[in-house]
Point group: C5
Chain length 99, copies 5
């Protein structure tokens, strides 16, 4: 699972019928500083009520997304499975990153 | 799911029989400016009527593609599941990207 | 699915029994100019008769490969599902790439 | 499976109910020197009792995670499947890396 | 499937019970020169008797690994499915790489 920052909302009217009714959020994987983007942005379905300024725990596999949404036919990959309250990063890992 | 720009059409006559009859589009994952390419281009099946100048929502997993196409034997990975009308990007995410 | 150039043949005598009898090709994902390599080379099973100088459509998921080969026990990931005759790339995408 | 360093703990109160009761660890894939980070950090469920200063063997697929946790509905991707006591790296590989 | 160089052995005593009894090897994806590392090292189960100096054909998907090992509950991703005796690389691909 990836640590992602909520980066915005997505408006899509023309889409697969199984995706209708779900909130689609734009999420950006970030480094341990929780600010620096790493890799490409994703679009994820939100089921935990994530919003602006939240750091989310994002699962990128469709099989997980289908389990979580209880819809075996939804063509989705990424889903927000939790909101991260706090990361307790070991000093050593923090140091390596900041070099 | 990835944000992709429609980058072109694909002509392939010699292909797996399950792929026949589908429109194959060349799609390019892009950054939040919706212009800068990020990573390798993909070839995706289109089922929502995407075309030139569209920004598409692309699912990269075969399991999703098979569900969406209703064909359990189609050897496909990427499928266009929606067209993005608008991205409402938070100012902070926009700023980080433009550094 | 990825756009790959056929990059060579693979000789492997000591291998899983399910892989015996299949032609293994070395394929290299390429950019839209169909020449510049992008990312790591892959080894794929060929079922469409691809050869030297061909640009192939490659599927990287084992589930697709097993469907296509009709062998539920074959431990394979990549498979060539088509040969690309032509890519009709939109001028805008071409321009972004050549910057 | 990836070689990861334990990089910290994760606190998340608002999350999918299947994730409750599991220890979530922040893990960082590392190079063969076991220090240099490579790629994005992941959040993984720990079932082998990994802790600070451990080098873990991390599996990134949800299907494996569900098998290991004995919970077919848990929307998880990464799971720690072992702790690495020692890596016996061939001199040649070590040399290539240190160039 | 990826072309990997055998990079070393892994010693792990504290691990998932399904992993016990298998030989774990450290493998490094390499470029077509079979020397230059590309991407992160992986840990793979060996079932073909690969060893030092071998170039292996590595499958990175857990579903393939489980099929090959005949153990539906093993939480593994990468498995060595063959040993590469020879790569017959087309001159053009060789040239692009060496630029």
């Amino acid at each position: 699972m990836l640590i992602c920052k909520i980066a915005g909302d997505v408006v899509s009217t023309q889409k697969n019928s199984h995706l209708k009714g779900y909130k689609l959020l734009l999420v950006q994987p970030v480094e341990l500083d929780l600010t620096t983007p790493v890799g490409v942005s994703l679009i994820a379905i939100d089921k935990v009520g994530a919003g602006k300024d939240d750091i989310a725990l994002v699962n990128k596999e469709g099989s997980s997304a289908r389990l979580l949404l209880g819809d075996e036919e939804i063509p989705v990959q990424a889903v927000i499975v939790g909101i991260i309250d706090d990361l307790d990063i070991l000093p050593e890992s923090r140091a390596v990153r900041s070099r």
